[in-house]
Each structure stands twice: as C-alpha cells, then as structure tokens.
Symmetry: D3
Subunit: 323 residues, 6 copies
C-alpha cells in the first residue's frame, strides 16, 4: 500500500536528552479540555489528512458529561478548530439512529471515503460505523457488532476481498478484562469469521488491551499501536505499545513489543477526569520520511501529541518481542 506523502505532518525532532522510541510534543496538550464552550474534555480523538490540511472527529464530553463526536479542522494538525455542536448523523432507521452516547472515534480513508468507527451506545456499547466524503455530511451505516464492544478499528484496505476490523469485546461496565479480536466482512454491514488476535499479558498490559490507531501497513506486517491497562493497587494505568500483525492473515501476531512505548508520566496524563491514562487513537504517517505523529488522550481530559519514526518502532517491536 502506497501512502500519500504527508510532508506537513506535525513534527518535532527527538530531544537530544531523550532515548525513548516515542517522545512527547513539548507544548502538550495540543487540545485543552475547554477548547469549545460546551466541552468538559476533548480526548481520544481521530485525525486524518484532508485536502492538504487536517480534519478530525473528536470525542468531546460536554458539561453534562455526555459523550459525543465533534468535527474539527486544522491547518497544521496542532492548532484546531472544533464545532461546538456534535456531528449529526444521517440515518434512515430511527431504531439505531437515536443518540445514546458516542465516543473514542477512529477515522480511516478506505477506498472512496472516510469511514468513522466509534463506541456507539445501542443498549450497551458497541461499534458504530459511519462515513463521510467531505467532512460535511456524515452518514450512519450500522452497528457492526452486538454489544458489548469497544475500540473498533478498521484496516485501511481490503485484504483478500474482505474488510477487516479489530475490536475488543467485553462487558457492559468499566470492565476489568478485554482482548483484541478481528472480524471480516463483505460489505461493512455483516461481520463474521471472527478470530482471536491477542490477549492480555503481564505487566503494563495485564488487565485489558485494545487496538489504537488504524494499523499502518509496512513491508513487515501491519503495525498496530494498542493500549494496555495495568491494575495497580490503587486504580488502572493506561499505557500503549505496539505489535506487528501478518499482512495477509492479520489475526496472526508476528511480533509484539515487550515494554510499553509511552506510559502516563506527565501532569496532563496523570491528573484529570481519569488519572493515569495515555490512550492513542490516531497515528499519522509520512511514508517518505518515516515520521509518525500519534494523537492520544491524556487522563481522559485533553489531547496530546507524540512522535516516532517508523523504522525505530519496527526495530523496537522486533527486538523486544517475546515469542
């Protein structure tokens, strides 16, 4: 898969004092909790290149603490304008179109349009799928899966003629378990041939895991950033790491990095509505330079940015992988 170049990808070089694979933007958070008047918090949001600039679908919790999706645009991927009102989704069937809650979106360019997936409330959390051609009109397609599911992430192209989606089935609450599965579809409506991809391991990813940004295709496999959760003796800690999935049978894990790549350590990751959360939903990628810009939520309150280089991440995943 040839990725269009993204020369204006947000970017800072790694500080010379830093030897980490992923490093933070020095003016984080890029989106404060109160960027728009209605918002309590803005985090776990999805960004894509759009018409030479950037567009996105943003999780904004309002001051009732209702969770919804808002549209935003940016010249540089750092300074954002967001609509104060949530996206309205066209939907012909009111049974499924009714708003209950919507959160944690991902956006992907797939064939001819931008598809959005998110955690959609329909008698429980499940994976809603919608699309837009222009970030102006948004259409709701269907709930891809039954409740109770979260972190639905589409692959950016068909594989062997079928659409693929990762998800994290779990339960109806603030669940203390969850592994990553993959489902396949001929039409983005009906899904089957479900396969287990990977489960929790010890340490930072011992409680639950979930796919993060849209996987990036590389010659060595699909690069998947994913979050993992550890239950400390006083709450959860959400970090994120990476794995490589087989190109043709992406439910097969080729390599899985041992350590986390980024864990909550700064004030804006440790203090906020949900302490100790770093939760990635977007990885912009500039193929020519190998640059990656990751948008992630901090403390379920703000949106932050971190940077990496593809070859270093791949090297990290491979060298720290335990069979």
């Amino acid at each position: 898969m040839i990725y269009p170049p993204l020369p204006n990808i947000p970017w800072q070089e790694r500080p010379t004092t830093c030897s980490d694979i992923i490093w933070r933007y020095d003016s984080n958070p890029v989106i404060p909790r109160d960027l728009i008047p209605s918002s309590n918090s803005i985090f776990n949001s999805a960004v894509v290149p759009f018409q030479g600039k950037f567009a996105g679908v943003f999780r904004c919790d309002n001051k009732k603490r209702e969770m919804n999706l808002h549209r935003g645009f940016s010249e540089d991927g750092i300074k954002w304008n967001l609509d104060n009102d949530p996206i309205e989704w066209d939907c012909t069937d009111p049974e499924i179109g009714r708003y209950q809650y919507r959160y944690d979106p991902r956006v992907v360019w797939l064939e001819d349009r931008y598809y959005v997936t998110w955690c959609n409330g329909y008698h429980g959390p499940t994976i809603g799928i919608g699309f837009t051609f222009d970030f102006n009109k948004f259409t709701f397609l269907e709930n891809a899966l039954l409740p109770f599911n979260r972190n639905g992430v589409l692959f950016p192209r068909k594989i062997d003629g079928r659409y693929f989606m990762l998800s994290r089935p779990s339960d109806n609450g603030h669940t203390p378990f969850g592994d990553i599965y993959l489902s396949q579809s001929p039409d983005l409506i009906h899904w089957g041939q479900h396969r287990f991809v990977m489960g929790v391991k010890g340490g930072w990813q011992s409680t639950k895991i979930g796919a993060g940004p849209i996987p990036i295709e590389t010659s060595e496999g699909w690069l998947l950033f994913y979050h993992g959760v550890l239950t400390s003796c006083n709450g959860f800690v959400y970090s994120f790491g990476a794995a490589l999935l087989d190109l043709e049978q992406p439910w097969k894990v080729i390599h899985r990095g041992g350590p986390y790549l980024l864990s909550p350590q700064t004030y804006y990751e440790c203090v906020g509505d949900v302490p100790n959360v770093a939760f990635p939903c977007t990885a912009l990628y500039d193929q020519p330079s190998g640059r990656i810009a990751i948008y992630y939520g901090g403390a379920d309150t703000v949106t932050a940015l971190a940077f990496a280089k593809l070859d270093e991440v791949l090297e990290f995943v491979k060298t720290t992988s335990e069979s």
Copy 2:
C-alpha cells in the same frame, strides 16, 4: 409456514387438578443424569423430529465437568439412547475447530438440513453454528458472533431473504445481566443489522433473560419461549415464560406474558448441580392438534418434559401482556 404433523409428539393430558398453562410430565425426569457412563449430568438439550422418530443433540457434562454435545435417538421422544462419546465436528480451520467447551444446543430444520447452534468456547463463550443432514456427519461452520454470547437461537425460515438469529450478549462469567438481541445474515456466516428485542423486567425475569426453543410461527407472530432469572436473597432462580414477536420484524415484541409459565418447584428442578433451574431448549409442535412438548433442563442436572397447547399459550401471552 406449514409445520409437518407430528402425531407421535410426546404427550400427556393436563391433570384435572391442574389449571396451569404448562404442566409437567408425570415421570420426569425423562433423562437421568447418569444415562450414559461418562455423564455427570444431561440437560439443556435439543430435540427434533427425525425420520418419523426423534433425534437430538444433548448437553452432557462429563465427570471432569467438561461440557460437550452428544447425539441421541428416541422412538417416542421419552426413552432415549445417547452416544457415550461426544459429537465430533468436521472443521477445516483448526483455529476455530479446537474444542474448548460446547453447551446448551438448539437444533432446527432450516431449508435443507438440521442446523445446530450452541454456546461454543472460543476465547470466551460465543455462538457456534454447525449442521448435519443425517445426524451422522456433523460439520462446524463458524462462530456466528464474537464472544461473549450465549443462547443463540435460529429462526426456522428465512425472513425477507435473510437468516435471523436471537442471542444474548453478556460477559465472560456467570453473568448477572443479559437481554435478547436479534442479528441478520445473508449466509449464516456474516451477521449484522443487530436489533434489540427485549430486556429484563421486574420479578421472575429481572436479572437476565435468554431465548429458549426455536420460535414457533403462528398467525399472530413468532411464539418465543424464553427463560428469565431472578436474583433472590440467596442465589438465582431460572423460570420460563413466553412472548410473541412480529412475523416480519421479529425484533418487535407484540405481546409479552407477565407471569412465568413454569418455575422450579419440583425436587429435580430445585436440587442438583445448580439449584432452582428450569431451562427450556426445545418445543416440539404438532400443528394439527396444537400440542407442544417442551424439553427443559432441571437444576442443570437432568432433562424434563412439560406440555402445553398452542392456543392456550397464545391466549396466556396476550391476556397477561403489559404494554
């Protein structure tokens, strides 16, 4: 839908002292826990008419307390011969074909063969679908849905060109919640257009509910027997009742009977591996006479039989329905 006559349906008339809509077979349980040498218990099992007699797929827990499916045949639906070894399922993909656990089967004649659905262990409980033409060779198709799901029940015919299945998504344990949903499929492999059917209510069905036998088509709607669970101050009680679903849009509930039809009150329903359980998985139906014979598990230990008449059940559902 014309049901083939079933003149040899197991049957006893209602005792004259009884005014209940459903009454028990007077020699219950029909299948004891130790019918075969390997079994700890035989319950929550599925029966169909077969070649003028009866065949079935039976949940047998062995003495390791592994849960599996066994084949059985009967002349009269009451006296059963079961294989001592579990059914072996043909499956081309070892990833999904491996046995983890299988339980609570339903069987339905659909188009050209018998389809079996059951709760299938694949990194958690989900709905396995398989089929047999002859009760000799059994083929495993796919897991229809992602975990965590139970009580997958197919409709006995396509509706509007699609297959329909009820299920009860929930979590990975002995879950204290669960409602009934419906999913649609063009091919029995990929499922979508999921719709909420009905949820818990007060009283006997206040903790969780799940579809029981294959729905029976009537001129007034699909007759669905379903179990409901109450959490007492000392454990669960599993009873069952009935509802009527719309013929064309079966996620719409037309009537839902208020009281239970049968609750655990006999020794074999109250005492056993799981006290206080009456759990129906089969409803044989003889259209000419209106007779219904329900097979249900008692105390998760034995298989029992109860009888009803279609018109009386419909009347009950309609007159006790609360909008």
Copy 3:
C-alpha cells in the same frame, strides 16, 4: 399488660423424643405455596386472633414474582382461606400510595385497631404503616422511615406515652449486613429518638439480624424472637433465636440467647425459592397456658408453624445468655 386468653391457639405437645425448646408442627407446611391460584409462594406472614378465630395478612408472591399482601381468615389458625387478590390500601396521597412492592408484614392490636407494618417499596424498601379495624377496610398511613429499611415491628402498647418500633436499616439490595434499632413516635407518623438495640454476633447471627414477631410482654422484659443470618461458604442460612429487652427502655438488652432456637433442617425449610430459610413473623401467645405458636416462612416459599412454652423460652434465653 394482660393478654386476652387464646384457648384455641394452634397447638401440639412436644414429641417425647424431642428435647428442643421449639418444636415443629407435624403437618408442616400449614400453607402451601399454591394455596391460591395467583400465588408462587406464601410465607413470612402475620396472624392475629380475630373475633374468636384468626385473621392474617399474608405475603404472597405471585407468578410474576411480584410481592404483595393478601388477607386471610382461619377457624383454627391452621387451615386458611386467603383472598386471591391483594389488599387494596386506602391512601389519600397518591405519591406514597402507589404500589411498588409490599412484603413481610407484621400485625399488632394496638389501642383500638390492628396496625400492619411491612416492607414497603418507596424508591427503595422502607417501613409502611397501615391499619384496619375489621380486616375489611385497610388504610395506609405513611412510610414511617426513610429507605432503606426492613423488618419494622411495633410494640403492642405505648411505653411512657410513646409508640415504639424496631427496625433493621440496611441498604438497597440483598444486603449482607444489618442490626436492630428502635425508634419512638408521638403519633405513628413522625419518628425519632432512634436507639441501637443489638447487632450481629458470631455464628448463626453473624451476617445480619432482624426483629421477628411483635414482642411479647413478660414480667421479665419484652420477649423478642428475631432471625439471624449466617453466611456459609455457599450462601446464607436464616435461623431464629430470642432475646429479652428492658420493659421501660426496650433498646436495652437484658438477656440474649446464645444458640438459635430453630434453624432450617427440614425439606420445606431447605428447598424452595430461597434455600435454608426459617423466618418468623408471628408469635401467638396464650397467657394462661403459656403456649406460643410461631408462624414462620420456610425457604421463602411456604408457611410453617412451630410451638413453644413461654417459661421454657425465658429460661433458655436467660441460661444461655452471654453478658
């Protein structure tokens, strides 16, 4: 306090093989679960002498498993006729008069009428108070206390010009804790001067306790039968014992019997909707003979009867009391 003689109190002499303080009626249960067509179970019910015979308010759970109160009459206290429909309560204020649920009644003759207390659903379980002069017309007064409360039991006379009521505040579920308190009132509407009476102890009464029948006045104090709950390694066990409360300051415990008086040991106490429950709500008392007849619920399913003699119970309470 002079109790009117009750020569027709239900009675059987203690079997010669029995040395227990309390012994069971040999034809228990006296009220089966299905005495009336609508009932799933009849238990935890209150009986009083009435016009030379007996009347009562009965907890009947119907086949929806709704909990409500029914009226009943008996010639001999053993063979009962119950109304198939629940009592309708006159109430001028619809805000509190609406039925949510009603269970576990106690009835007491107090001054000029029969007062009924029960666990009344009003945004949670609390203590409803009503009265009847004639067991024909029933009037709902008020909820005496805020939720979450159960086992409200009135004293049979004013003490020092005030009404007294025992109750067991706890939480909104099938709660694993609860002690007995006492409240005082000038008018049966407003309650205050709440005092702690007694809490859980080890063994059979280690999880929660609650007052049972109306206390019986004796020269040595108020005799209180009360239930206690033990959490075994597989559920709760409800037994009952007795204590003596100070006549003038009944929140002061004079003696508290160490062992239980009756624990669930028979089939109808061990097997039913809630296994292992013996729960007393009534103690009829014939002062001349010292006979006591206790009505108690078995397994939250049926109503049973047991007998005792006042002097033996007092002796038991005093000799087994631990300071």
Copy 4:
C-alpha cells in the same frame, strides 16, 4: 423570606475571559489543609454570617484521620481562625452523645438560633442535629434519622408549620448509590412524611447525588446546589450543579439544571486525599446584589471558594432544565 443584606460577602468579579456561571476565587484554596496544627485536612465546611462578620463549623480530619467539627471565625470570610480542638457538644444522654465521628456540617439560622446538621456516627453514619446561639456553647439535640444517611440539610424556615430537611439515605460504606429525599418534623426531633425529591441522572450525576448548602429561597422556588458523582473508568468524580424546588412542596422539582456548574479541574480539586472532588456545603447570599459565595471542599483536603450571581444561576437552571 427576606435575607438580611450581606454587604461583606466574599467576592470577586468574574474574570473577563470566563463565561462560566460559577467562577473560582483566584487565591484558592482559602483554607489550607494544615491551617491548625492538628489537622490533616479542612474541607466540606459550613459558614454563616455572624455578628457582622463570619463564623463557621469546619470539618477537620486530624492526623489520626479522625473526622470532627471545629469552630472558626473570620473577619472577611476568607482569612480564618479555627480552634485547634474540636467542638464539644453538650448532650444529656451519653448513649447518643459519645463521639464516633462527625463530618460534613451545614449551618443555618433558623428562627432563633444556629442549627448545625452533620453526618454523625452512631452505629453507622446518620444525621446529627445540634444548635448554638452564640458559637460558644453547642448543644447536641438528637440524631434526626436512622443510619445510614448523609448530607442532611435543613431549610431556613418552617413551611406550613413544619421543619423540612433534605437527606441522602444510603448504606454503611463508600456507597455507590444515593438519591435525595425530604423529611418533615414538628419539633426537629421526630421526622416523618418522607418524600423522594430527586434521583441520579446520566453523566456527572449518574452514581449518587446529595444536597449541598442550605437552599436559598427565591421567588421562583428553593435554589438547591447539590453535588453529583460520576463513576469513571478509574474512580469517582464529584461535581456540583443546581435545581429549583417548589416553595410549598419542596419535594417537587421545578427545574433541574442539565450540566454541572463546577467540576474538579484545578490542582487543589484533582489532587489530594480524595482526587477529583468539588463538594459544596455553604452558599452565602447577599440579596441586594444577588451575589452568592460558595464554599466547597477540594479533593477532600482543602476549602475553596467560588462565586456566582443568583439571577444567572436561576437562568441557567431554567434554560438547561430537561423536563
């Protein structure tokens, strides 16, 4: 009700950059955790105008983490002097006078004296009522209600000849549920005619709610500030909002503001002994200017101050109210 003018109410104008209904004092916290040598923390405290200045009853947890009430005085409502030792309460009945724990006080001028209500330990948390004429001698009256209760808040005048009190019955632990009820009394000792006022809703007030400061009488109803709690995927968040109650029947909610008015967002609200808590106990009100000064606890550690104007709050409650 005519409120005496309070020209020296603590006050800062809303910052020009702020468009919120409620804004914080710019030198928060006004009371640090270690204002007195014995204190671990000082928060959830009650302030009243007193002799042209201010007096208050303060929750101080000492370094054993015992919870108690201390007296304090201030010239300006901002700079406080607190006694290092707790208030001693006169009480004639040692049964109820013994200290177990005391926290979260409210103070109100009612008829002829200052009444104090607080969460009082008496075999569980309940609502203690006491009074003082002069902030010198403090008398304990009674526990108004049975355990388990918290957040007892008196109305500042009788209504229809009776005293009114809001409270939040719940259970004996750090309870995950709780709604607001109202009780009525002829004498502040005996309480009855309990009415449900309002329960949890979605979002910021989805887990439990509780009354905050003494309600402020306005021509449109009683203005009630109250806290609400959301359970995030990593702990609780305590915010506060407002509602309008009927003047004559204050258990009837006329309007209930949708969003919160203030949620924990600053360091002193997010970091401390209990992260993410903003908990109001006092609202001073200057009727002529419409100014309101709210004292609230930050992170269960310090006391902070925020400001609002009555007309703006009323407008907010009305315009954001959902029927």
Copy 5:
C-alpha cells in the same frame, strides 16, 4: 511403609449395578447432624483405628454455629459415640491456646502418637497441630503456619528425616481460590522449604482444591484424595478425586486423575447447611484386602461413608491422568 492390617474396616461390596470406582454406603449418613444434643451438624471428621476399634476427632458445629472438635469412639466405624463437649487442649501458652474456632480435623498415627491437624482460628484460619497418645489427654503444640491457611494434612511418616505437611494457603473469607502446597519441618514446630504441589484445573476442580485424608503410601507413590470446587452459575460444588505424588519428593505430581471420583448427588450431599458438598477427611486402609473406607462430610451437615479398592483407584488415577 507397612500398614497394620485393618480387618474390621467398615465395608460393603460395590453394588452390582454400579460401575463407579467409589461407591456409597447404603445407610448413609452414618452420623446424623444431631447425634449429640449440642450439635447443629457433624461432618468433615477424622477417624483412625484405635485399640482394635476406632476413635476419631469430629467437627461438630453447635447450635450457636460455633465450630469445634469432639472426641468419638466406635466399635465398627459406623455406629459412633461422641462426647457432647468439645475436646479441651492442654496448652502452656495462653496467647495461642485460646479458642477462637476449630474445624476440619485430620488425624494420623506418626511415630509414637496420634497427631491432629485442623483449621485453627488465630487471628484468621491457620493450621493447628496437637497430639494425643490415648484419646484421653490432648495437647496443643503450635500453629504450624501463618494465617490464612486451611486443609493442613500431615504425611504418615518422615521422609528423608523431615516431617511433611500439605496445606492450602488462601485468604480470610469463603475464598474463591486455593492450591495445594507442601512444607517441611525438622520438629513439627518450624516449617520451611515450601513447595507448590498442584493447582486448580478446569471443570470440577476449577475454583480451589485442598488435600483430603492422610496420603496413603503405595509402591507407586503417595495416593492423595483431595477435594475440588467448581463455581456453577449458582454457587459452589465440592467433589473429590485423587492424585499420586512422588514418594521421595511428594511435591511432584506423578499422576492426577481427570474426573472426580464422587460428586454431591444424593439428598444428604445436596441439601443441608451448605448445599452440594462432598468433603473427605479420612481414608481408612486395609492393606491385605486393599479396601479403603472414606469418611466425608455431606452438605457440611452430616458424615457419610464411601468405599473403594486401592488397586482400582490407582488404575483410575493412572489411566485418566493427563500429563
């Protein structure tokens, strides 16, 4: 190890209709719950050959539901006389000698005397060790291990100069987990060199396991009967099975039988204070005939007896063992 012949071992031949490895005594229970006046229940008890007859230490819960140990004698191992009062233990150190609770004893002849181990309350459940030479005087030695532990079972001889004991460390409640460990001692006072023996597996032994009777030495290893617990969707089920441990390094499991040998299926195993429990504490063994008589608790209420033959049990363990 040469076992003294035990020709009067309680015995019944296997019924001809039975093909199980272990079969029940046809007059079970051998000890009813009320054998002695003080007892609520008698179960989980230990029996040894004594002076040509039988003696035992019995768990008797009294009617306060206090758990204690009583002495008993029997001519034939079936008809028992038990002391109505508990054993008094000589102990020089009152700090550890105080009674809190004692239950689930095992007795073994070791070197020169009978050692008793039991679950002993000392600020939590742990393993008490005592001894008797004559079943007349009983001496308490020490608590072998720290809380929280249960099911301490000594080996009947030293191995390599050291004493060995199995135990099941767990927590302070009705714990849902627990594996079997082994500890070693030079003096029965100090224990160390702790080794993990075996943990839970699927099915009947998936929640927790614990050693049962004193292991029986055979040429193929130590034969260990042990109980296993399954968590059903409505409570626990306690069954028992067997394993073979290495003779010299008994923390090494040579074979572990797959299915249970006996699960609760009779009334006296399914109904009682704790439903669905079969819990073995003694296995008498007659080496010449190979007969084994197992005493086990039924429903934590009564004591029952079952029979087996050593060679058949060994064969079972070996043939059903999964590596």
Copy 6:
C-alpha cells in the same frame, strides 16, 4: 545493641517553620523514576551503610512493568548509581530460583552478612530471603513462608537464640486487609511460633498495615516504622507511623503512636503510578546524634527521603499512644 556510628547519614535540619516529627528532604525525590534507562519507576527500596558509604537494593519496575531488584551504590546516600540490570540470585534449586517477580526489599546486617528480604513471586507473593557479603554475589536462600505474604522484615539480631521476622499475611491480589505477625526461626529456613503483633485500627491505618524498615533497637523497645492504609471514598491512602515493641517478646506492643508521622501530601507522593502513597522501607540511624533518615517510596514511582530524631519519635510514640 551498639549501632556503629553513621556520621555521614543523609541529613537536613528541620525547617524552622515546621513542627512535625518527621520532615521531608527539600530536594525530593532523591531518585527519579527514570534514573536508569530500563526503569519505569524506582521506589520502596532498601539502603544500608556499606564500607563507609552506602549500598542498597532497589525496587525497579521496568517498562514492561515487571518488578525486580537492582543493586545501587552511593557516596552520600542521596546521589545514587544503580545497575541497569537486575540482581542475579544464585540458587541451587531451580524450582524456587525461577524469577516470577521481586519487589519491596529490605536489607539488614545480621551477624556476618547482609540479608535481603523481599516480596517474592512463587505461585503467589511470599517472603524471599537471600544474602550477600559484598553486594557483589547474591545468594537466594529460600522462601521463608507460604504465599500469600508481603512486607517481610527481619530483626537485626537474634533474640533468645532465634531469628525473628515480621510479615503481613494476606491474599493473592491488591488486598484490602492485612495485619502484622511475627515468626521465629532457628536457621532462617524453617519458621514457626507465629504470633500476632498488631492489627488495623481506625483512621489512617484502618484498611491494612505492614512493617516498614528494619526495627531500631532502643532502650525502651524496638522502634518500628510501619505503613498504614486508609480506604477513602475514592481509593487508598498509604501513610506511615511508628510503634514500640517489647525487646524480648517483640510481638507485644508497648506503645503505638496515634497519628501518622507522614502522609502523602506532596506532588511526588500524590501523583504517579499509584496516587497517594508514602511507603518506608529503610531507616538509617546514627546512634550518637540520634538522627534517622527514612527512605520511602512516593506514589509507587520515586524514592524520597525524610528525617527525624530518635528521641522525638520515641516521645511521639509514647505520648500519643492509646492503651
């Protein structure tokens, strides 16, 4: 016991504005979370005087969040060099030598060498014991106790010919309970004569407690610093205080200070991987000056330092002790 003088103990005088018994180092934390490349966090670590300087065993969690022990050296006890790789332990028995996890070390000079105890993973957390003569070669001895145990702390000399160790038995998770016990040993391998030392009390130490640094011998008893945990309405708070144990029978508590000595109040104690933790593992002591330097973990993330004087601590413990 004569302590060798420690003139170079890290030290700062108490700030003049501070009246606390214990005061913090003004440049805390002394060890940041990322001192070595592999570390996620460094905390709960043990320091001893070594060859005129300082050596230590440090808990370092790596970026997989594996917990292990690292060696470190320091000239001044403040600026530390730590090995990037964990300590390798010599162990002849691979059954117990395998690494599962190691954390929360204590180090003590005892007789002829440095003994290290730590929480060691062996089928659950227990107390591992090892030793080193030179901080170069480290030898693993044995697990002293069965799981589930933590906070094993040796006394610095034999008492009455036996080794003594404090520990905190509990369960297998992030346990909400735990008291301090003492065990005795002739050889550091086998442990017995277990005695209860002290349990939880109200307030800051109401959930669980555990021994901290090696006890310091004084003429008035063993001075034990220990941590205590309070369960707030939003998580745990770990503080620490002190007690005096009897010199000869150290399971007897002579005095126990009422308030905590230090609770989490600074940013590095309140914010980090585990909010609100101050956890001491080392108390260096210079006998001539009476100076004490306490190393404690902050927020389970960094290592901090605090100071005290022995006489002041003793005075505090005695004067605030409640019998």
